[in-house]
Symmetry: D2
């Protein structure tokens, strides 16, 4: 066995996504062996020094900083991993690209299509690898769905319907966090959750041609984080619904909400084709439901197959555990960042299995179109 090289990671952010990504970088060699390269956790950035210092120790980084520009310039950093809030995506990513770093950026790529377009343009001109971290493309069951579609098992596609439902702000006294402010987040569940199902729609079914949409803010004011006796304005939607028309003629619905009581991380999609159908639910991410029309003589055993996607023949599973030993949400990042590593080290395209910055931009364009339709009451043809 020849020696495996190392590759330097610079991380922006240490909270939810920073933790998920850091964990994934660490776990890659344990599962994917031999790895394309061994990730070396060089530096982590955060605004609060005490917190980022603790994160450094906890996650295993060599150093920390409270100035993100140090990361994008650090000569040891070969990959910039941007896990910051949406309003901090554009600038660090573009600077890193310009500094010759490979860049993976959390979704949505930006707060709106205009901002995303700039990032996409920067990525397109550069020679580095860039990826928009739509991690649900890396759920084994979703990749299995992709394979089933690629093989044409469903035939012509008629319907796609998806809903991404959560319930964490149903309480009207939940505070006005950054995700509820347009300035920082761009939009509400549309960009946060809707972007995931829009990306899956594009990944699995094809390009989106037109939408109608209704966005709604149910609770218009909320307590301020810094002073709960005062209230501030919620400047993003609390939920949206949309109809969607695909370029290939399929039609569907999209919906996301943070007001769906009892739904925790309910990212569900359904695809109906002339020869079969597929259903997926992120809360049971190790499973895929598949319906396939049987020939007449086997019609009596036609049914919904509940596939436990934990077999060696299933995507990604070979590196994990024996059949039936399920994996968790965090493994999507291990799969995704391993893919990015492979693309970098072996100079492969991140597309079509990972989302590019172009995908990230197009997703933002669909989000913008849904908001526009909600505002104008008109069907909007998406312009990319």
């Amino acid at each position: 066995m020849s020696k495996i090289s190392e590759i330097g990671i610079g991380m922006l952010g240490y909270a939810f996504m920073g933790k998920s990504h850091s964990h994934a970088w660490r776990d890659i060699p344990l599962f994917f062996w031999p790895p394309p390269a061994i990730p070396k956790l060089v530096v982590i950035y955060g605004r609060r020094e005490s917190a980022v210092k603790e994160a450094m120790i906890r996650y295993g980084y060599k150093k920390y900083t409270t100035d993100w520009r140090e990361v994008v310039k650090d000569p040891e950093v070969e990959i910039l991993d941007n896990c910051l809030p949406n309003y901090m995506h554009k600038e660090p990513c573009i600077e890193a690209i310009e500094n010759g770093k490979h860049v993976v950026c959390e979704k949505p790529l930006a707060r709106d299509a205009k901002e995303a377009k700039e990032m996409y343009e920067a990525a397109r001109k550069a020679r580095v690898k860039t990826m928009c971290a739509f991690n649900y493309r890396f759920v084994p069951a979703v990749r299995l769905a992709k394979k089933i579609l690629e093989e044409g098992l469903l035939g012509r596609i008629y319907h796609f319907r998806a809903r991404y439902l959560q319930d964490w702000i149903v309480d009207p006294n939940f505070p006005l966090v950054w995700r509820l402010q347009k300035e920082y987040a761009g939009s509400g569940p549309l960009g946060d959750l809707g972007s995931h199902i829009i990306d899956l729609a594009r990944f699995l079914v094809g390009e989106i041609a037109a939408v109608t949409g209704v966005a709604r803010t149910f609770i218009e004011e909320r307590p301020l984080l810094e002073d709960p006796t005062k209230r501030g304005k919620v400047t993003v939607e609390d939920a949206f619904t949309a109809t969607v028309e695909f370029e290939n003629g399929a039609i569907g619905t999209l919906e996301a909400s943070r007001f769906a009581t009892g739904k925790k991380n309910y990212n569900v999609f359904e695809i109906n084709g002339e020869k079969g159908s597929i259903e997926f639910n992120l809360e049971r991410l190790n499973e895929l439901r598949v319906y396939l029309v049987e020939p007449d003589e086997r019609k009596y055993i036609e049914g919904w197959r509940e596939i436990l996607v934990t077999e060696k023949v299933h995507p990604f599973i070979e590196v994990y555990w024996p059949p039936g030993h399920i994996i968790g949400w965090e493994h999507t990042f291990i799969n995704e960042l391993h893919h990015f590593l492979d693309c970098i080290v072996n100079d492969k395209d991140v597309a079509p299995y990972a989302a590019t910055f172009e995908d990230g931009y197009r997703c933002c364009a669909v989000c913008d179109a849904i908001l526009e339709s909600s505002n104008t009451g008109r069907r909007v043809i998406v312009e990319y």
Copy 2:
């Protein structure tokens, strides 16, 4: 026990719905004892003499006819039960009303809102009882959902989403039956299936204020029934999707299709409120899923309750079998027609638990609005 009186039934149609309703009339005394009255099956109408004669024997009617006017005029007939195709709803119903018959009419009430309005006007002026047969209001689990909503267990309602999916015309060689022709059916799955979920939306959540919609015909020509070597034009939609805004502020999606491979009679709705949620699936009609927010000290046992709606305390169940001995689709008609019988004999309002002709009309108005939105690309405010 005093003698139970009889009440004469005149039936229009002997096929799918004619059979379901005839069976229900017969079963009422066996289950609901003592019944308000014992249905006497007087006469059944159909176009084909040999078939309607056989139906007469099979279902237990005293006589048959191939002229529906004989039924609406028959002095022995006290209740007209109209199970004919949509284009045959208006005329017999109005004549029967004018002849002083009580009338139950299958859904959708008519091919469009204009036609339905005439029927509603006729019913409004008459002293007879009229009911639009939206039988899914009489599923025990749906009635349990209604009760839960009436008691306010879910609090303010944020979302309603429903889809009624079937797959019986996915095969492009399925013939051009009457349900695929606008002249006879008015519309496709919108009136046939969508009307059910629109009625449930109105029954459970409240009046619909505005919609956007996309209707689509996937297979534009099909073999003629009478000569399969020739093809004729499909003049109704194959599927539709819609966004919906309720007067009370809730938003949602509606969808119906006959192209959802693997979905047979998949009438599903989900309601999300601030304090809980409800889910229902007609393919498992004996079950209701209910989520209720628990107080903090019981938060750890908060979850989706899968309620087997077969207990004595559940709606309608007392007349059937012991717990866990499930009932079927056909029982919705027994419950519904028993209710109508009770309203007639004991002079009660069919509303709010059954649908009136006004409900039937309003449902048609929503259907028309969805089609209009699909044609114009604009959000349509429903005018009743």
Copy 3:
């Protein structure tokens, strides 16, 4: 169409089973058209005159009696349908057989194997048709399981496990009804529920060779029905568990209880074979779960098929409703009694799809063996 003949039914019992069977006889012509013969409801027997008279009217019998001997002798009665408690099975059945009546008897055939043997001997010698009413053989999904097994789709069978769980006597103050008294019932859930799963085991997998068993009475005294201030002894088991060895080498477990809180009519079985598996749950009786090993190139879509057993190609369904329009528990009796009618009119064997009196007897022998094992602590080889 030539005229369809009638056949006279004499019913013993009007309660739970009497109602189910009466309903089924009435519904046969409506669903199975043309029927082998049209059941004519001649006479119904019950002990309480007012109740049996009401049942006569409600179910549609011509006359009633409080003397069962009148039924077994009635010249108009061609089929005796015995729905009485277990202790009233033997005598009326044997007399009816001797009077040349066809006899269907509710399960368990008798209180013990000795009594059942006498009935079986009487049936064996007679020329009339006899059937033990194990109605779950007539669930469409169970019959589909049978077909799958007959076709060898599962290969060699390794395991059968079944449990029939209810919870209606968990409350220690539930009264001492006849089902809790050995004199009337013979045994507790063993004969009542266990007999069903033993019959399904024999029907689907094969003859039972040996058992071990544990029977247990959790609540030993209960309030008397006639005077709740007094308590009487429960003389049957409240639950049993057993291991079972089949003649063909398969092994399994059997269990029944009336103390399984939350289980209402939970009759569940699972079969594992070398090439596939089957699962069934009576609370979702329209569904069958089937696993079939796929060839290597299709291994990635191997999974549990959830089959909605409501297609025309499925057993019995053709006479009911379109796909997805589910049927209920009561339909098992319609299917079963139609089968019996067909066997009588067209002189067919009731076996192998219905249970014979021999099957009823063998089932009792297994029950007795389980009780014996519980008493002796030894594995019992079942002697038939």
Copy 4:
């Protein structure tokens, strides 16, 4: 924050369990922060040098050895983690204990009760901490079940039934691996899978008093690993079934098999009590189904709660991800080894939430009793 100390880990085995445990030791600080101590991966043992050397790099150990005695003597090693096959449990564990190492040993503790007793005796006399790694006690949903039982929410327990089903040796040509040889494994699925459900039975319901059992080998000879043209004898059972009686009066069934086609890691248990019931399935380990009897006025919403065990209020979840972001099978080890670390550093008892060597021994005693019953055909009272 004061500096967190380190603690040295010595690992025996690098395959399935060695990988799972190594991963867990590494992940502890990332999730449980601050950890009781930071695990330092000192040394890993394996028989094949090339493989154990690769494992050293991949998992992050400082050194490797092919002599297990070096590990149990290594002064840097404070915790011995024994992930070797069953026949290699006793000797290294006892030597490590005698050398003052804390010891965690994979289950089953030993090949039989006699061997396990020796280990338990060694542990009892020592001052080090010892734990038998029944990791399913550390599934959040299982711990939630424990809490529900501890709080008495189910009342008196009547039933426990469990089955642990896999299908990996259904193919008769699957080779004769060590797990199929009594000399190395002690027993087949009884010790491998059955031990898990026996431990859960004891953990959740209480001590086992008596059993009956049937053990069966379906395929008696299999190809040799080293020369597949030859066959060797399978010397363990392929499956077992058992009835079980608990000291507290509850009864139940136990079953494990490697011949349950379609079941991959199907570790399922059900508990029925007078006030409620619980169901768990390891293939959906983030969920727990709970039934609770409601007071009369809420009876209509009584149902099976499907609890997604991913809330902050649920056991272990606080250290992981937001609600609905599910964890995987591997996390059971993180929870378990963190617990052991906590017990060591803070001198706590590993019981009652983790299994002690005594629990490991008692579990072996139940296994032995089931085999004895299978051999003698008699109910066996378990002697501890």
